[in-house]
Symmetry: C2
Subunit: 466 residues, 2 copies
């Protein structure tokens, strides 16, 4: 570095002297250019030790391989939304801070705020639900089935569960059943939401710990906690719903009764769809967020079966949602309610599962869709390659070529092996004379001469078979 | 509102009295539920007048129609990238603040910073180029052809040009030609970047204003400014390049000579691709950002031809980019350079043009891909509709149904007219008895009975023709 600095100083001295001597302006300009270039290089060098090269905490890049996997997952998800007639919307990555205020209960501290640089106070969106409710209220929309694919931002430390998963499973419950249950268990009304937050931890903590949080930290009576403990271990299907509708206490609670009635209807529809086997009505499901008002649900992964474990253990939620009938009304000037129900899919977790599976399977993931590499058999054919690839591009064929002026044929074939390109279109002097292109099928090493005017059609046929 | 508050207070009093009287716990729980519900409603109402319902300044929502248009544009762009063998990457929406520091020159003041909430200092990305350079340096990648579709954030007030455009046009120049030109015109080396910024304004201001900024604000000598003025009005093709290579001053400048040499090669390739007619070598093109080191280019829209205007006027850039060989080195611990060249497409502007065109054409934009509506001809057929739609979904058919229990047939047909669904599968009592479904073609009003087991195939055939 010291040597480079000395060189810049020497060059600056040269420029000074030339100017002093009133030398030829072009000569001066030339040396100034050189000095500028050296300074720029030095400046770049100086900057280089000052920072750590990383993405912000909790974020990651997606390289081409990761993106190929992520797009597979998106494709499956989007095709499901489209199959059910959903429309897509998009909203800005940040919202007015006050739009998010008061919507997330205890989670509000995890919101990213933007710096006050003059103008409006802004926050990054924390979920897609509150912006959606804002969108509905703003545009006075009362009927829409929408999907929305976008990142959300939370200042927490996501613990990425890794491991092998046995299967997906859906849990459902209803906030009204929970609230009714709290009421009949003797939870004071002021403690409903905080006790609900404790119940929400049952997927990560054993009941004993949750109970001690309820009694110790949150001041619930041990009797009430024990009554809750009896309920939250219940899970089942229509049979459990029927039983609870007969429960002498719960059946007297208006909210619980409403919730159980709707849950029964839901299970009747699930029966028609033939999927009751995948769904469990689970009284311990609570969901963290404040805004749910009715049915709530989660899709969870169960751990790979293990002889040491008796019951399958949930290792994490990959999707979740519920009914939030009050949220849009919070944005409407006249408080008009718009009933809503939605699900959020945690693509990051699904992605990491897909990634593990692909690693295990050693499947080669292609990161491009290139159908053909335009290659040359001899030197001095750059212009011919450019002409041919231009023809292919114009015909809609996905084609690549190496950028070197005179690449070796072996390197060009190797590139196809590495990237999974199935075909090579080879131009050589003889082929040019004969008006043909040699088409090589990478997998079989078969080579055929194809008339130039038939090449596009031949490539289409051969790649539609792949 | 006052009445609602009074009602809540009365209900709270009821609860207090019941508790005081040690009434039946279930009775208390019931009244508490009621109180909670009333409070929640009141809270929602209270929040409603406090804020303005809007998206942050400079941002907008995209509803289903806008998204359908945007996705059309994306599809065209992505298919072009894929045709040329590009891979896709993604990076986080924010970067460490220091990653962005010192990369944008005078534009740095437009960066959105996040609030310091403890931990790292973060900024929203300002472009996709700097995060890409950070990604390359971090992963030691020296060869990649990538595309990246994402939003970037700038604290300016984008003036959205509206109007009719005649055609796209590409301008090219080279930073080395510009810098050589500045040198031979007698611009002091310390003023290169700021004079370059002035030249960049030539697409929005006449030369006279730019000249007075150079001389007045930036202290350039009038003679130097006038020499620049002569160069920047030049534009042309290979002929102009040849002429400048003969220019007694410019041809003596090392940087300019390099730039002109590469420009000549570029035009030779453009000739092979047959697109020189769409490209203008334009000495006034400067590009605002600091990091460009070689060729720079812009795709601009020219105004609709107008008899009152002699030369077509550029009304805005829809894409731009250039070579930035120094940027990755700024992130590399050893300053290793990775040559890069890239283009950024301004999708917002392209989108607003597409939107105008669609409005003018009155073309109906579909926002879903639904193939068939499952409808019922009589009442009490909700379960039959659910069964049929479930079969269709399982077979991969895109299907919808109305959510009402007993919708009128007319309303179901109207829904198809409104949303562009081409087919209706109607279940009725007679059809169920006969084991058929009545398939109605919305456009022609033709109706045919299709055996239930052939329905999926029939829908596939009929919608592949659409």
């Amino acid at each position: 570095m010291a040597a480079e600095e000395a060189a810049v100083r020497a060059q600056a001295e040269t420029v000074r002297r030339l100017k002093q001597d009133k030398a030829d302006p072009d000569e001066i300009a030339k040396e100034v250019s050189k000095l500028l270039e050296m300074k720029a290089q030095l400046g770049a060098d100086e900057g280089k030790h000052k920072f750590v090269l990383k993405t912000p905490k909790g974020t990651r890049d997606f390289g081409p391989r990761e993106m190929a996997i992520r797009e597979r997952a998106f494709k499956a998800i989007i095709s499901c939304f489209k199959r059910h007639g959903a429309e897509v919307i998009d909203t800005p990555v940040f919202e007015l801070k006050e739009t998010l205020t008061g919507k997330y209960g205890e989670d509000s501290k995890l919101i990213y705020d933007l710096k006050d640089q003059g103008g409006e106070l802004l926050s990054l969106r924390y979920d897609l639900t509150v912006p959606f409710a804002r969108y509905l209220a703003m545009n006075k929309i009362t009927n829409i089935k929408r999907y929305h694919i976008a990142k959300v931002y939370r200042r927490d430390n996501p613990a990425m569960t890794r491991g092998r998963y046995r299967e997906f499973y859906q849990c459902v419950n209803d906030r009204r059943i929970l609230d009714g249950m709290f009421a009949v268990c003797g939870v004071p009304d002021s403690k409903f939401r905080t006790i609900c937050s404790s119940v929400d931890k049952l997927d990560k903590m054993p009941w004993e710990e949750v109970r001690s949080e309820m009694v110790g930290e949150k001041g619930l009576s041990p009797e009430a906690a024990d009554r809750i403990g009896e309920y939250v271990q219940l899970h089942g299907g229509l049979d459990l719903i029927e039983r609870l509708l007969q429960d002498p206490k719960l059946s007297q609670n208006k909210l619980a009764k409403e919730g159980l009635g709707d849950m029964k209807l839901l299970f009747e529809y699930l029966t028609l769809f033939g999927i009751t086997g995948k769904i469990s009505f689970d009284l311990s499901l609570a969901r963290g967020l404040d805004y749910y008002t009715g049915v709530i649900f989660e899709a969870v992964l169960l751990q790979q079966e293990n002889e040491h474990v008796e019951e399958p253990v949930s290792v994490g939620s990959v999707a979740g949602g519920g009914r939030y009938d009050g949220l849009v009304g919070m944005f409407d000037p006249k408080g008009r309610k718009v009933p809503c129900v939605g699900v959020s899919i945690g693509i990051e977790r699904i992605f990491s599962i897909l990634e593990q599976r692909l690693e295990a399977s050693e499947e080669k993931v292609r990161t491009t869709e290139t159908q053909v590499l335009v290659a040359s058999a001899q030197k001095k054919l750059l212009e011919e390659r450019l002409k041919l690839i231009s023809e292919l591009w114009d015909a809609g064929i996905k084609a690549e070529m190496l950028y070197k002026k005179n690449p070796k044929l072996l390197n060009q074939l190797q590139y196809c092996e590495d990237t999974g390109i199935p075909l090579v279109a080879i131009v050589g002097e003889q082929e040019l004379k004969d008006g043909v292109v040699k088409l090589r099928i990478v997998a079989t090493r078969e080579e055929v001469n194809v008339r130039r005017e038939s090449l596009v059609e031949e490539i289409r046929i051969r790649t539609s078979q792949c």
